[in-house]
Amino acid sequence: MTTQVTTPNEVLPPPTERYTILGWLHKNLFSDWFNSILSIIAGAFVFVIVRGLLRWLFVTAQWAAINDNISLYMKGQYPGAEDWRLWLLIYLAVLLTGLMWGVFMRRTSAITWVLMMMPLILGGWVFALGKPSWWLVALLDIVGIAGYLLAKRFPQTSKRLTVTLLLLYMPLVILVIRGFGETGFLPRVGTNLWGGLLLSLLLAIIGIVFSFPIGVLLALGRQSKMPALKTLSIIYIEVIRGVPLITLLFMGQVMLPFFLPAGLTIDRVIRAVVAIIMFAAAYMAENVRGGLQSIPQGQFEAADAIGLSGMQKMVHIILPQALRTVIPVLVGQFIGLFKDTSLVALVGLLDLLGIARGILANPSYIGRQLEVFAFIALIYWIFSYAMSYAARRLEISLGVGER
């Protein structure tokens, strides 16, 4: 009996599978009589649903409730004369995205992503301002790609620029959208005029940006060896997690004014934002703690052994690994947070859902609930999916699960 040995030089290629459409159908849908019946039933079911959906979309539905109010959905009562401020911020955001992509992502194929995602998001925003001037969108795309190429061309300078812009962006957004002073340059636009998608996005982004570091600190506090810090963190986390977000929002809107001295009022949007941040931070803390606990003891010991201080150990060794492992959970939470901002509609703020309810209250749009809610659902979906997609790209780029 002889054994045939394959030497490394003659490694065989894997067999290629060739499919025809009929072959594919046979293999996957009609492999035996039972599968065939299931396929036919399922096919009929899909057909009926899709037909109904298409008929509703193109025949039954009346889109006036959306067409007439598109600018309200997107930015509420924000004055049209100040639209340029929003455009400025969008341009900056796109430039920043391009820069970040160039600086932090290693794989060049990402450029395809930029090309693909940007018109999508921007399409929404052009809509947004109710002025579909396509050259503005084209220019946006060019700015994004320019940022990307800039980052590839001058990595060092761009890195500094990107980090600075990132840190400055949030304060800048608030400053520019809100403005200051009664007249003159950037007159103030009161928060009562902020609304629609603009308000939803602001609530979500501010909520994410601030709850994230607070959550990390709370997680570290809960893991801390200092008893006071540890107890305080645990009490905070457990109390907040035991309360629904809507309760916090109501407390902020309705009860808080009773406790403030007469004459002192806090802006309603700020009260809502603070409630969202407080709520999200507690959940964030628990997710981050899960990541911290997944780090093997050996990592702590190795960091100690080379002489890193407690702070250096956290910043360079533990947190990067812990946060990387919890990216999927955190993104899930960010998406949840974005959708949860719709609760502010219940305390009277005019976010996307609040505006939708307002429009439906208008007698001329009676009975148009389905159209209006389908439309805002689509907007929520686009942004949620974009977040989830970006997170998957980030995971691939960071090599989660590979090393």
């Binding site: 093997p296 050996g298 990592q299 010991e301 190795a302 960091a303 100690d304 052994a305 080379i306 002489g307 890193l308 201080s309 250096q312 360079h316 060794i317 990067p320 690994q321 990387r324 090599g399 590979e402 090393r403």
Partner: protein, 246 residues
């Protein structure tokens, strides 16, 4: 080879009720290579981990390079600067490249410029024989290569003392030699080393002194010559016969 660089006097350590170290006293001279061996659970690892305070001793005195190990964080930090450690499970930082693993300590703790740290890291990688792996991640290397990176990482801090905690126990047999070769090179360079290991060939070749641990105590110590050919204690004889006979 005169003044002691590590002095341990009557070191005790308990885990709950379990008495892990029962009065270890030992002096290590500058440049000495010490091999610690003994059955598992005898306190070997615990003992070397007390030297850089990965484990806290509860009684006795440990003085490293003239600094006493106390609760004072500054003392601990000062000692860790001078003591490098290599672990059984390598414990490389998986999210950093080989180069970043090695330069992190020098840049953060010794406050060297990045260029200087990388230059020295490259020299160390040459010394352990894997300069071409500098920009890979630990997960892309074999066990033997990872352990050599771990040695380079510890050496990058330019420590006066190196501790090895069973550095070859997690390795495939064919990779043990490449790590032992690196360690032999280090031993000959004159650095002070304490090595917990079961590779008796290595011990015989490089150890100045061998120390036999059992049940949290030092049972016997002496030159490899004495320990291998003329062990005094029955416990040592029994242990040696068991590990040398297969």
């Amino acid at each position: 080879m005169s003044e002691p660089i590590i002095i341990c006097r009557d070191v005790h350590k308990w885990y709950g009720q379990f008495h892990a170290l029962r009065g270890i006293s030992m002096e290590v001279k500058k440049g000495e290579v010490i091999v610690i061996f003994g059955p598992s659970g005898s306190g070997k690892s615990t003992f070397i981990r007390t030297i850089n305070r990965l484990e806290e001793h509860q009684k006795g005195t440990i003085i490293v390079d003239g600094i006493e190990l106390t609760h004072d964080v500054r003392n601990i930090a000062a000692i860790r600067k001078e003591v490098g450690m290599v672990f059984q499970q390598f414990n490389l930082f998986p999210h950093l490249t080989v180069m970043q693993n090695i330069t992190l300590g020098p840049i953060q703790v010794r406050k060297w410029k990045k260029e200087k740290a990388e230059e020295i890291a490259m020299q160390l990688l040459e010394r352990v024989g894997i300069p071409e792996q500098a920009f890979k991640y630990p997960g892309q290397l074999s066990g033997g290569q990872q352990q050599r990176v771990a040695i380079a990482r510890a050496m990058a801090m330019q420590p006066k003392i190196m501790l090895f905690d069973e550095p070859t126990s997690a390795l495939d047999p064919e990779m043990i030699k490449e790590v032992l070769d690196v360690m032999t090179g280090l031993a000959q360079s004159g650095i002070t080393m304490i090595v917990v290991i079961h590779e008796m060939g290595f011990a015989r070749a490089v150890a100045d002194r061998m120390v036999f641990f059992d049940q949290g105590m030092i049972v016997e110590s002496g030159t490899p010559e004495d320990v291998f050919h003329n062990p005094q204690e029955d416990r040592t004889k029994l242990f040696l016969s068991q590990i040398l006979q297969h």
